[in-house]
Symmetry: C2
Amino acid sequence: MEYVHGYSDQERARLADQAATLTDLLHADTRYPAGSRVLEAGCGVGAQTVILAANSPDADVTCVDISAASVTAARERATRAGLANVRFLRADLFDAPFPRASFDHVFVCFVLEHLADPVAALAALRGLLRPGGSITVIEGDHGSAYFHPDSEAARRAIGCLVDLQARAGGDALIGRRLYPLLVQAGYRDVAVSPRVVYADASRPHLVDGFTRRTFTAMVEGVGEQAVGEALLDAPTWAAGVRALHRTTEPDGTFSYTFFKATATSPPA
Amino acid sequence: MEYVHGYSDQERARLADQAATLTDLLHADTRYPAGSRVLEAGCGVGAQTVILAANSPDADVTCVDISAASVTAARERATRAGLANVRFLRADLFDAPFPRASFDHVFVCFVLEHLADPVAALAALRGLLRPGGSITVIEGDHGSAYFHPDSEAARRAIGCLVDLQARAGGDALIGRRLYPLLVQAGYRDVAVSPRVVYADASRPHLVDGFTRRTFTAMVEGVGEQAVGEALLDAPTWAAGVRALHRTTEPDGTFSYTFFKATATSPPA
């Protein structure tokens, strides 16, 4: 809890630094031309939207999400960021109120992992792309996490995240599947690029910002549910979380891989 | 077995292409200046030596290995490759016949994984480096392998490699430990860089050359020992190997991460 409250200015700067590192890793190579029509599908509360729109200031970005509350939050965030090239709309990806071929580019980040039928979602989005338009997909893969010191309990705790995501109809191991999913959804020129976040004591902003506050915090966040649903006993869970924190000590290391894919819709 | 015999010219070209891809990934950023004194510690049969020496044609490369047979094979390989800047010597890393500070750079590739005390080996090598000299270390990490379709049997088969390496006194998960090992051995400026080999059907030379012929072949190669030592029952083993081959089909993917570290010896 000491990390959640009372951030100093120094702390804020460090967090911004960490966010910038991940932003560069995942987003730096996505820049859309002036005037191009971009759809962000599943914008959530706009965490990726503000990066996307800032990196392509002259593109015309439309963001949709199925949650009205999220759309409201995303719109406020974009306004606070001073972005003038973004509009927001509550819509279902599978039934979006756009004519066919409305967009030159589609962007989907941390969305497919939650869907029971990601191929159907990708195919629906393909219908919204003009022929030859591009799609960009970014997803994580919890099975890509490994660390030193290694820990069976930590691996089992991470496995609970995967199990819970599966019970909710999603797939926390979807990163490794982006290639076949895009091919099955009818895209061409599918190109997948793994992006490793590797943290050791020489990269303290990543140890703190990613290993501790992002990944380990995410594992800790589902502890009650995981133990409550008897996916793991409470002592093993606690040992797993302790082992993840142990990897943030000066001799620890932590690796996680995101997958970024690009593809095109078939020509007319 | 169809891959082992009767390589066509096309097949040879594809293998060369695959080797070049891995060579670039692991070695392209290691170039030593003209006249610099380089030690390759644990050259084995010279597989990395020929790349190292070709990339730094004006450096003066000394290669040692504890096996006389390997040194002979490495020398022949270097001669066949027409390399004039390499010499070979049978020697123990822990008792090498060189004065202190004999080298400007040390290079160690796929060696530490076999050693019971990698920190002692790194410290011994530090003694051979001039103050401020550099060390470069490359190692794999079998725990970094994941794939689609996922398979419990395949994960257990890979686990047997890790267990067998541990029984032999080594560590097949050493890639993630390079940072603390180098720090503990007294090096400065330790910088670790993960290098992902990711293969899907858009990269057929990697699917064939890495997933099938390198990684899966390595797992298959220890099957008799793993089953013989009762690390895994024969049917599970066979299922694991089949599952690894399954990842080479058009909808399969495979990821593996090598770790490359550089560091310097302390100033005088």
